[in-house]
Amino acid sequence: MKTPVLIAIAVVVALLAFGLYQGLVVAPTEQTMGDVQRIFYYHVPSAWTGILLFTANFFASIWYLFRRTTVSDSIAVTTAEVGLVFWTIVLITGPIWARPVWGIWWTWDARLTSTLVLWLIYVSYLIVRRFSSGGQTAVLAAALAVFGFADVPFVYLSIWYFRTQHPQPVIGGGGKLDPAMWHAVLYNWLAFIAFALVLCWFRYQLERKQRDVEETLALESLLEGSPR
């Protein structure tokens, strides 16, 4: 089992290095913002990867609600946690980008605000998973995942309109992107997806191991004859 994993890691590292090279060297410097715009090549692919993972979490939760298999529940928690890691990166690199470009760390820019709200939703999802007791965690979390995902369009819509009411400086995105720039974004996205898959694989093994421990614990308390 070990070697394929090592190969996968090697491939991911190569892809990431290639993406980094594209972002920092190959892509032309943006006229208005200069080189700081290259944060874009990490900020946007991380967001897209995060969205992919949250979508996977949604479908895994739906699958769990119908089939109640532990596999679907493990995938739901795995994709949510790894998704939240990528999403945290988006949330932190955003202000790092805003500071040099607009001189302010945080602006209620439509995208930044929506990122923050989504981040809050999935953090509360993971907290509920940790706090709910034993057998019911999966069902409660799956229901919450459906609510969270259904909320995403409302988050983006309401905050987008909220911003058009009071225009604020808008982060990047403006202006025509040079094709080489698009390449950098796409290569990095590919690299991040591969990296996310490997992370998910490891997190999944951890989940299975933790379930073994939980069950042994449950069995342990049973065998000591404590009445059910």
Binding site: G34, Y42, V85, I92, R203, L206, K209
Partner: protein
């Protein structure tokens, strides 16, 4: 104010966060592994 340090800061922060996450994976895995082995021994 030279913007370049912000560029490197963003890239570094990205890998710091990923690194911390991987670290938690490893520690949680080791902890669960140890607990499991204790049970098997008992």
């Amino acid at each position: 104010m030279n913007p370049i340090p912000f560029l490197y800061a963003a890239y570094i922060v990205t890998w710091v966060i990923h690194g911390v996450f991987i670290l938690t994976l490893v520690t949680r895995y080791r902890k669960a592994d140890r607990e499991l082995r204790d049970f098997q021994k008992k």
